[in-house]
């Protein structure tokens, strides 16, 4: 039951996208999100759609997976679309008593849906193609300048690494505990909301106990290997930019330029 979570999961591979430097991927993801937000019409947004499609094709991820990862956001998209359709003022296309649908409403709804889809697609692509370790490594390097203003960059990155590392472990553990309590007749599927909340106690307590136990053991193991924070720590894998990374940056720059250009000089139709 807990195996259906694909959002944020890493799918190993060796495509061009997989091999990009994690720092570059992080920056480009942020750039892509910015691009989606400055695009203020259907045509500039299409640039974003094309980019997402292109990157997914290059990452060679199974199409099934992409569809599956989009499923949880469908309610959000429907919700925003419905709100936009009915509550945005403008030229009425259709009216029945006080309910009306406007041209602007429909347009905003469509644009918003595309934007949200691209947002999710773009940010999931980052986690699909970057291992958690590489991701935190990249984050740590990118945030390094913040250490000057006493931000504990290394500690934050280490916390993230550990948290990511233990997500699958804890999911597995939760499954085991659920099975064990069900074997003792725990009823998790029926009853009122209160009863169901109460039924979670036999699962949450063992889960917390084991999380603390693991944390203790991990801390001990790290200390045994003389861990003392980031100071003076060297890396086994040095990050270095290759021609691939520069090409990726160039492509994204062209994309943003295109969006800005279409925003300024593109056709006036389908604009907000």
């Amino acid at each position: 039951m807990m195996n259906d979570i694909t959002f944020g999961q890493y799918f190993p591979g060796d495509s061009v996208i997989h091999r990009l430097d994690p720092r570059v991927k992080l920056v480009l993801t942020i750039a892509y999100i910015v691009m989606l937000f400055i695009a203020d019409g259907l045509y500039p947004l299409l640039v974003g759609v094309v980019f997402a499609a292109l990157f997914y094709a290059m990452a060679r991820l199974p199409a099934k997976l992409i569809i599956k990862s989009m499923k949880p956001v469908v309610p959000i998209i429907v919700f925003t679309a419905v709100l936009n359709i009915f509550f945005i003022e403008g030229d009425p296309l259709w009216q029945w008593q006080f309910i009306k649908i406007t041209r602007e409403g429909v347009l905003t709804a469509v644009l918003m849906s595309i934007r949200i889809l691209c947002l999710i697609a773009g940010s999931s692509l980052l986690t699909y193609t970057t291992s958690p370790i590489a991701l935190t490594d990249g984050l740590e390097r990118l945030m390094k300048p913040l250490a000057v203003i006493k931000v504990p960059v290394h500690e934050l990155a280490m916390m993230m690494t550990i948290a990511l590392r233990f997500i699958p472990t804890l999911i597995e553990e939760t499954g085991k505990i659920i099975s064990a309590q069900k074997a003792r007749g725990a009823d998790l599927e029926s009853g009122t909301v209160m009863q169901r909340a109460k039924a979670l106690v036999p699962i949450l307590i063992p889960l917390f106990v084991s999380a603390f136990r693991r944390a203790d053991e991990l801390a001990l193991a790290m200390e045994c290997r003389c861990y003392r924070g980031g100071e003076g720590r060297t890396r086994m894998k040095q990050l270095s930019l290759t021609y691939r990374d520069w090409i990726a940056c160039a492509v994204m720059t062209v994309g943003i330029a295109a969006v800005v250009f279409i925003n300024l000089y593109g056709p006036e139709v389908f604009r907000l």
């Binding site: 195996n3 085991k176 505990i177 099975s179 074997a183 007749g185 725990a186 063992p206």
Partner: protein, 288 residues
């Protein structure tokens, strides 16, 4: 009388995804009421998946499970009934403890069954004494006990449901030799006193040889063999092919036989080995 039966039991994990893997396929088994069965197999052979089918924690993709003659999935809404009939003790069961006191934790199962307070209290008393936990333990917090004691509390938590079939997945994993002996002895006594059907999943051929009357072997998701202890453990090449091996003492005796010493082939426990050796010595030693 037949207690547990499966017909063409098949189950696949994550069907329809790239992570798909068949856990068990076409398993047909039958266990008589009151039998003590050992279930062995290599890691990943499907043992754990199989036992979770027997109390309805996993619903098979195809095939049927019968407990006491009843198809357990005939009415999916009533599946909990079979969880009480077939008690399942998972590996490292101490990780399931959650209550403030040992007494409450053991009572979790009986309370889920909807039993009266008196009946629950009686069952807690019986279950805790079956695993050798004195009354002084009942009001302690389970989290302040030692590893072996926690394990016994967790086993008592399943025994308190007084299941007709008791399945234990590696009940002695991670315990010291004395703890192992104690728990295995308690399981044996429970078997003798209640006549319950026991399925013991174990890596230890020695334990299976000592306690079980019949052995089932799982290999790559299939039931590879089923027979009495001597039938199964005397086929050492077959066991080797499964990545398993006969008990150590059996291997020593087959080596002795190979060297021309006249010892029987059906030595599976240290106790029997001792008797055989003593009688051999009283007959004038093993000289050829």
């Amino acid at each position: 009388m037949e207690m547990v039966r499966t017909e063409h039991l098949t189950y696949t994990y994550s069907a329809g995804t790239p992570f798909q893997s068949t856990a068990i396929k076409d398993v047909d088994l039958s266990i008589e009421s009151g039998e003590f069965v050992g279930l062995i197999g290599h890691t990943g052979s499907g043992k754990s998946t199989l036992i979770q089918h027997l109390n309805g924690l996993i619903r098979p993709d195809s095939g049927k499970v019968f407990i006491d003659g009843e198809d357990i999935w005939a009415e999916p809404k009533k599946i909990r009934r079979f969880r009480f009939k077939v008690g399942l003790v998972f590996q490292y069961p101490e990780y399931q403890l959650f209550e403030e006191t040992v007494r409450k934790d053991i009572a979790f199962g009986p309370r889920n069954m909807g039993l009266s307070d008196d009946e629950t209290a009686a069952r807690v008393a019986r279950a805790s004494s079956a695993v050798g936990l004195g009354k002084e333990y009942l009001d302690k917090s389970p989290f302040e006990l030692s590893g072996g004691e926690k394990r016994r509390v967790a086993i008592a938590g399943v025994l308190a449901m007084e299941p007709r079939v008791l399945i234990l997945d590696e009940p002695t994993a991670g315990l010291d030799p004395r703890g192992r002996e104690k728990i295995l002895g308690e399981i044996k006594t429970y078997h003798e006193n209640t006549g319950a059907t026991i399925i013991l999943v174990s890596h230890s051929m020695e334990d299976v040889a000592r306690f079980a009357s019949r052995v089932l072997i799982m290999d790559h998701g299939e039931l590879a063999a089923s027979g009495t202890v001597s039938e199964v453990f005397s086929r050492s090449e077959f066991l080797d092919a499964m990545g398993l091996s006969a008990p150590q003492v059996t291997r020593i005796f087959s080596e002795l036989r190979r060297r021309g010493i006249d010892v029987p082939a059906d030595v599976f426990t240290v106790e029997r080995a001792r008797d055989v050796l003593l009688s051999l010595l009283s007959k004038g030693g093993a000289r050829k």
